[in-house]
Symmetry: C2
Subunit: 150 residues, 2 copies
Amino acid sequence: MLEYIILGLLMEGPMSGYEMKKTIDSSVGLFYRASFGSLYPVLKRLADKGVLSVAEAEGGRNKKEYTLLPAGKEQFVSWLAEPLPVSRNEVLLRIFFYDYLDEDTRQARLSEYENKLESEMRRLQAVQEIVAGELEHIEHPENYFTACPC
Amino acid sequence: MLEYIILGLLMEGPMSGYEMKKTIDSSVGLFYRASFGSLYPVLKRLADKGVLSVAEAEGGRNKKEYTLLPAGKEQFVSWLAEPLPVSRNEVLLRIFFYDYLDEDTRQARLSEYENKLESEMRRLQAVQEIVAGELEHIEHPENYFTACPC
DNA sequence: GACATCATGTAACCAGTTACATGATTAG
DNA sequence: CTAATCATGTAACTGGTTACATGATGTC
């Protein structure tokens, strides 16, 4: 699983392990949690397999930059094209048993969860607006430099 | 996870390991798959912990019947009352990357999945109708024996 | 008598987590 | 100079999977 997420992130360009963790948390964080303890060993394994390459990144810190190799891209796309799997869903599983919960707790848990989903949705919508704005600049390159805050 | 599903199934009454597997497949099968290789060791562990009791079931076969003990019921309900977790969802994860998939494959995978969900929904609706019918008999016990096909 | 199904169990393996260790760089 | 954050990594453990072994019972 994590193997393919890593490949997927690298489709956009090279990245370090630490950056991957941050990107995962802030994008698919609602339905996938990555830990460093799994991340780094997987990166090593993927490098050994030859689907990505490693380079020391500049910056003085012990930072490494991983780059997707053609073999990795191929593997990622063929994974992506597979039929959508029957996937485990702990939330639905609990709700399946909600008959055994008293009405009050049930209501409390469900609205709690609804709130969580709504705040996550707002966060993702904000990201989408930023991305849409960037795309507009790319499509109208004449505005690109004038609008840049740097 | 599986620990709590087992406790949840036993809330309805005693059952064997083999029956649990069948029940899981035909109820929460769409979002949880159990294997015998995990089921039996967990049952043993739960018995050792004292949350359920084991008895040889009649029928000649090497069949065991597991019964929920009060400690198990308590544990199950307090698990159920916990806030709904951030749970992994492989389907959403793949769809997150669907930008990298060509339009045709994407469409194919999505309608494939939609069909799967719809057929599962029909199956569960059929189950619901059966259960609703049974409930009606319990509420009108005068019809209970007359309507029984046996 | 052969084959499907019922029924339990084990061993090798795999993916991931938690907790920890280590050290460099930046911000106040 | 100190605390936060950047950055990588390891070891012990957990919760599962797959594949296999074993044998009983029902069905054609």
